[in-house]
C-alpha cells in the first residue's frame, strides 16, 4: 500500500441508485489523475466520499497512513486532502484575501483567548496566515493579487474558479481534488488551466485528481485517466489507452454510436 490515496471496493448507494459501485482507485504523490465519465457516473460522489461528505457503504479509503472512513470533512482536510467544488462555492461575503485565509484554518491554532488578548503568538500566527494566503493568491500571477480586498462575489467567473483553487491550496494539502475546474472557461482560459495544474504539481508537489468533461484538458494534464460509468470503474490507464477503450466509447456515445464509429 504505497499509494498516497488508495480506495478499495468503495460503494455508495442512494435509494435505488448505485452511485458508486466497488471502485478501486489510487493516486500517487506528484501524480495527476483525470476522472472522466458521463453525467451521473458517480465522479462527484466519489469526491464527496473521499472528502468525508458521504460515508461509503462499503470499502476502504487510506490516505498517507490515515484511514479516512469515518473521519469528518474537516479532519480529512487536516490530514492533507483539499478540494474545489463543481459549482464554485466561495464565501461570497468575504474578501478574496479572507477566503484564502480561511484555508489556513487547520494549520493554525488561535482560539477565543488568543483573539481577545491578542497575544504575541496570535499576532505572529495572523501574520503567518496572511503571508500564506498572499502566497497562495500570488500563484495565480496578477489575476487575484490586485483584487485581494474585493468580495469574492465581485470576482469574474474565471477568477472565482482560481480563488477556489487558491483557497484549497491554503490548506497546505498533499492531495488536491478539482471538480470540473475548466467548466465555463473559454479556450484560452483552458490553456492557462492546463499550465496551472502542471505548475501546481511541479511547484507545490501536490498529487492532483481532477474530474473533467473537457477532453483536451484531460489529455493535456493527466498522467493517468480513470473512466467511470454507472458508478463502476470501466477503464484506467493513459489517456490514449482509455480513449481507445471500447467501453468508454460506448459510455459516451451509446452502443449504436460506437458501432457507427467502427
Amino acid at each position: 500500500m504505497n499509494h498516497l490515496l488508495e480506495l478499495e471496493g468503495v460503494s455508495k448507494r442512494f435509494g435505488g441508485v448505485q452511485a458508486v459501485d466497488s471502485v478501486d482507485f489510487w493516486a500517487d504523490p506528484g501524480e495527476i489523475v483525470g476522472v472522466i465519465g458521463p453525467n451521473g457516473a458517480g465522479k462527484t460522489t466519489l469526491f464527496n466520499i473521499v472528502t468525508g461528505f458521504y460515508a461509503p457503504d462499503a470499502g476502504k479509503i487510506h490516505f498517507d497512513g490515515h484511514n479516512l472512513v469515518g473521519l469528518k470533512p474537516n479532519q480529512i482536510t487536516r490530514v492533507g486532502v483539499s478540494r474545489t467544488f463543481q459549482a464554485v462555492r466561495l464565501f461570497g461575503a468575504m474578501t478574496v484575501l479572507e477566503n484564502a485565509m480561511v484555508g489556513q484554518h487547520t494549520r493554525t491554532k488561535a482560539g477565543v483567548y488568543g483573539a481577545l488578548l491578542n497575544t504575541p503568538r496570535t499576532v505572529r500566527e495572523e501574520q503567518k496566515v496572511h503571508a500564506s494566503a498572499i502566497d497562495s493568491l500570488a500563484f495565480f500571477g496578477d489575476r487575484l493579487t490586485p483584487r485581494i480586498n474585493s468580495l469574492a462575489s465581485e470576482l469574474a467567473y474565471a477568477d472565482r474558479r482560481r480563488l477556489e483553487i487558491a483557497r484549497a491550496m491554503a490548506t497546505e494539502p498533499q492531495l488536491l481534488l478539482l471538480d470540473e475546474p475548466a467548466a465555463g472557461m473559454n479556450p484560452s482560459e483552458k490553456e492557462g488551466l492546463i499550465e496551472l495544474i502542471g505548475r501546481l504539481r511541479d511547484v507545490k508537489g501536490y498529487a492532483i485528481v481532477l474530474i473533467e468533461h473537457d477532453m483536451p484538458v484531460i489529455k493535456g494534464v493527466s498522467d493517468r485517466v480513470v473512466a467511470l460509468d454507472y458508478g463502476k470503474k470501466i477503464a484506467d490507464g493513459t489517456y490514449d489507452e482509455v480513449a481507445a477503450n471500447q467501453q468508454v466509447i460506448e459510455a459516451y456515445l451509446g452502443k449504436a454510436g460506437s458501432e457507427e464509429q467502427e
Binding site: 464565501f91 484555508g103 495572523e126 465581485e154 465555463g184
Partner: protein, 567 residues
C-alpha cells in the same frame, strides 16, 4: 412633463392625510406645539405628508427647477384638495363616526386651522400649494449647497422642537437658559427663526469646508491622524460619561434600557451576525443571566439557609461576586442548548431555538420549579450591591455599569470578528459544507458561537436584575427575542455600531415617543417598515454586507453555472 407623475403621489398623499386624520393622529398631535401659537404637530404632520408627496412627484420626473416646483404644486395641491373634500363630506353631514370615532369637531377645527370653514379651506389650499411648490422646487434646485442647507435647517428645527422634553432638561442641567427657545412645549417664534438660520448657516458653512476638510484629511500624516482619532475617541467617552448627569434621570433610565439591549444585541450578533445561526430563543440566555443573578443574591432564593443566613456566607452577597459565576453558568447552558441543534440549519434551527426560548419561560413560570425560581411571583428583593454610594437602582448610576459592560462586549465582538475564530464563523455562515471542507469543525464553532452569545447575553440579564431589583417570568417572553433580533437587523447584521444604533432606535425611540400614547407603536412600525424598504442592509451596516446587497452594479455576471458541455 408627464402630468400623471404628480397625480399618483398626490393621491397617495391625500389618502395618507385622511388616514392620519381618521385614526385621530392629527387631532391628538395638534396638542403638541411645534412653534407655539403658530403651528401644532398635527398640522406639521399634514404639511410633511404634502412635502413628501411633492418631493416624490418631482423626484420621479427628475424635473428641473420651474417644472419641479409646478409638479410639487400640483401634488401638494391634490393632497390639500383631497383633504378639503374629506372635510367637506364631514361638514355635509356624512356620518362616519360610527366607524371612525376619532373624526371629531376638534379634528375639523384643526383641519380648518381654527378658522371658519371657508377661510380654513383657503389657508389649507394655500399651505398645501406652497409646501408642494417649495418641496418640488427643492428637487429641481441646481445649487446643491442651497438645497441641502434648506432641508437641513428645516429638519433640524423640527427635531429640536420635537426633542423639547429632553433638550429643555438637558440644556437646563447645563445651565443654559431655554426661555428664548421653548415655550409651552414648542419653539418660540424667535427660537424658530434662530434655529432655522443657525441650521442653514451651519450646513452652508460645513458644505463650503467639505472639500477643504477632505484635502486636509488626505494630506494628514499618519500619526497626526491617529492623534485625532484618539482625541475624538476620548471626547466621545467623556461625553458618554457626562451624559446621565446632563440628560437627567428619565433619559438616563432609557439609556440604561438601551444599554441592556446593546448587550443583548452584541451577544445575539455573535450568534446570528457572525456565525449565521438564526436564534429566535435568545431570551433564554437573558433569563438565565437574570435568574442566576437573582438566585445568588436574593434573600428570597432557595440558597438562603434555615437560619436566615444567605448564600452570602460564601461571599455571594452581591451582584459583583455573582456575575462571573452567572456568566459561566450561561456559557454552559448556551453550549447545552447549542448541542442538540448542531445538525439543524436555517429555518429549522430558528424553530427549535424558538422552542427553547419558550421552554425557559415555561420553566421559570412553572410550579415545579417555583421553590427555586419563584414561579409566577418571580424573585424579588435582589439586594443593592456595595458600595452604598453607588446605587444600582439609580438610573444615573447603573448607566455606568451597563456602559462599561457594553464596552467590554463591543471589544470582545470587535476582536473576535477579525480573528481566526471570526473567519471560521464567517465561513460557516456563508457555506457550512465548504467551511467544513476547509477544515473548520462546524460542531465546535457552532457551540462556541452559542456559548459566547449566551455569555454576553447573560450580562444583560444580570444587570437587568440589578437594575429592576425583582424579576418576573413575564419579562422573558418571546417579545424580547424578537426585539433583540430586530435591533441587530435594523442596525445592520454583523455590525457593532449597528447594534448600538439599532438599540437606540428600537428601544430608545419608543420610550421617547411615549407622549404620543397609543400612536407610538404605529409610528414605530411605520419607521421600521420604511427603514427595511429603503435601507435593507440596516442603519449602520457592516461594509461587506452593504456591498453584497448592493452588488448588482459592480459584479460580473456569472457566465456559466455548472457542468459545461462535454467536449
Amino acid at each position: 412633463m408627464n402630468p400623471t407623475a404628480a397625480l399618483k403621489p398626490g393621491l397617495i398623499g391625500g389618502t395618507v392625510v385622511i388616514y392620519l386624520a381618521a385614526i385621530g393622529m392629527v387631532e391628538r398631535f395638534q396638542d403638541r406645539n411645534v412653534i407655539t401659537g403658530v403651528v401644532g404637530l398635527g398640522v406639521v404632520l399634514i404639511l410633511l405628508t404634502i412635502a413628501i408627496a411633492a418631493y416624490t412627484a418631482a423626484r420621479k420626473g427628475r424635473t428641473p427647477m420651474p417644472t419641479g416646483a409646478l409638479v410639487g404644486l400640483v401634488a401638494g395641491g391634490m393632497v390639500a384638495l383631497i383633504t378639503l373634500g374629506f372635510e367637506g363630506l364631514i361638514n355635509a353631514g356624512v356620518d362616519v363616526r360610527g366607524m371612525f370615532v376619532s373624526i371629531t369637531p376638534g379634528l375639523l377645527e384643526t383641519l380648518e386651522f381654527g378658522l371658519n370653514p371657508a377661510l380654513g379651506a383657503i389657508v389649507m389650499a394655500l399651505a398645501g400649494g406652497t409646501t408642494g411648490l417649495v418641496a418640488g422646487g427643492l428637487v429641481g434646485l441646481k445649487d446643491e449647497h442651497l438645497r441641502s442647507s434648506i432641508v437641513f435647517a428645516v429638519s433640524m428645527t423640527l427635531l429640536i422642537s420635537l426633542g423639547e422634553p429632553i433638550l429643555r432638561v438637558t440644556l437646563g442641567n447645563l445651565g443654559i437658559p431655554t426661555n428664548w427657545l421653548y415655550e409651552l412645549g414648542g419653539l418660540t417664534i424667535a427660537g424658530t427663526i434662530i434655529t432655522l438660520l443657525a441650521g442653514f448657516g451651519l450646513r452652508w458653512w460645513l458644505m463650503g469646508r467639505k472639500e477643504k476638510r477632505q484635502e486636509i484629511a488626505a494630506h494628514m500624516p499618519e500619526d497626526t491622524r491617529r492623534t485625532w482619532g484618539r482625541a475624538s475617541l476620548i471626547a466621545a467617552i467623556l461625553a458618554l460619561i457626562a451624559l446621565p448627569w446632563v440628560v437627567g434621570p428619565f433619559v438616563s433610565d432609557v439609556l440604561g434600557t438601551v444599554g441592556l439591549y446593546v448587550l443583548l444585541g452584541l451577544g445575539l450578533n455573535i450568534v446570528v451576525g457572525y456565525a449565521g445561526l438564526l436564534d429566535l430563543g435568545y431570551v433564554a440566555f437573558f433569563a438565565v443571566g437574570a435568574y442566576a443573578a437573582a438566585i445568588f443574591t436574593s434573600p428570597a432564593s432557595f440558597l438562603v439557609t434555615e437560619e436566615g443566613e444567605t448564600f452570602a456566607a460564601a461571599g455571594f452577597t452581591n451582584i459583583w461576586f455573582a456575575f462571573p459565576f452567572v456568566v459561566i453558568i450561561a456559557v454552559v447552558i448556551g453550549a447545552m442548548i447549542g448541542a442538540p441543534v448542531l445538525r439543524l440549519r436555517g429555518d429549522y434551527l430558528a424553530i427549535v431555538t424558538l422552542g427553547f426560548g419558550e421552554i425557559i419561560r415555561t420553566l421559570v413560570l412553572s410550579d415545579w420549579l417555583a421553590p427555586f425560581l419563584g414561579g409566577a411571583q418571580g424573585l424579588t428583593r435582589i439586594p443593592a450591591a456595595p458600595p452604598e454610594s453607588f446605587d444600582l437602582r439609580n438610573p444615573q448610576h447603573i448607566y455606568y455599569v451597563i456602559l462599561a459592560f457594553c464596552f467590554v462586549a463591543a471589544y470582545i465582538s470587535y476582536r473576535l470578528a477579525d480573528s481566526r475564530v471570526g473567519r471560521a464563523w464567517a465561513a460557516m455562515r456563508e457555506d457550512e459544507d465548504v467551511a467544513e471542507a476547509m477544515g473548520i469543525s462546524v460542531v465546535r464553532y457552532k457551540l462556541l458561537a452559542f456559548a459566547m452569545g449566551a455569555g454576553v447575553g447573560s450580562l444583560g440579564g444580570v444587570f437587568f436584575a440589578a437594575k429592576i431589583g425583582s424579576i418576573f417570568p413575564n419579562s422573558f417572553g418571546l417579545q424580547v427575542s424578537i426585539n433583540v433580533l430586530a435591533v441587530i437587523i435594523l442596525g445592520g447584521i454583523g455590525s457593532i455600531p449597528g447594534v448600538i444604533v439599532g438599540a437606540a432606535a428600537l428601544v430608545g425611540l419608543p420610550e421617547l415617543l411615549r407622549e404620543f400614547g397609543e400612536f407610538r407603536l404605529l409610528i414605530y412600525g411605520a419607521i421600521l417598515i420604511a427603514i427595511m424598504i429603503f435601507r435593507p442592509e440596516g442603519l449602520l451596516p457592516n461594509k461587506r454586507r452593504q456591498r453584497e446587497l448592493h452588488e448588482g452594479a459592480g459584479s460580473a455576471p456569472v457566465e456559466l453555472p455548472e457542468g459545461a458541455s462535454p467536449a
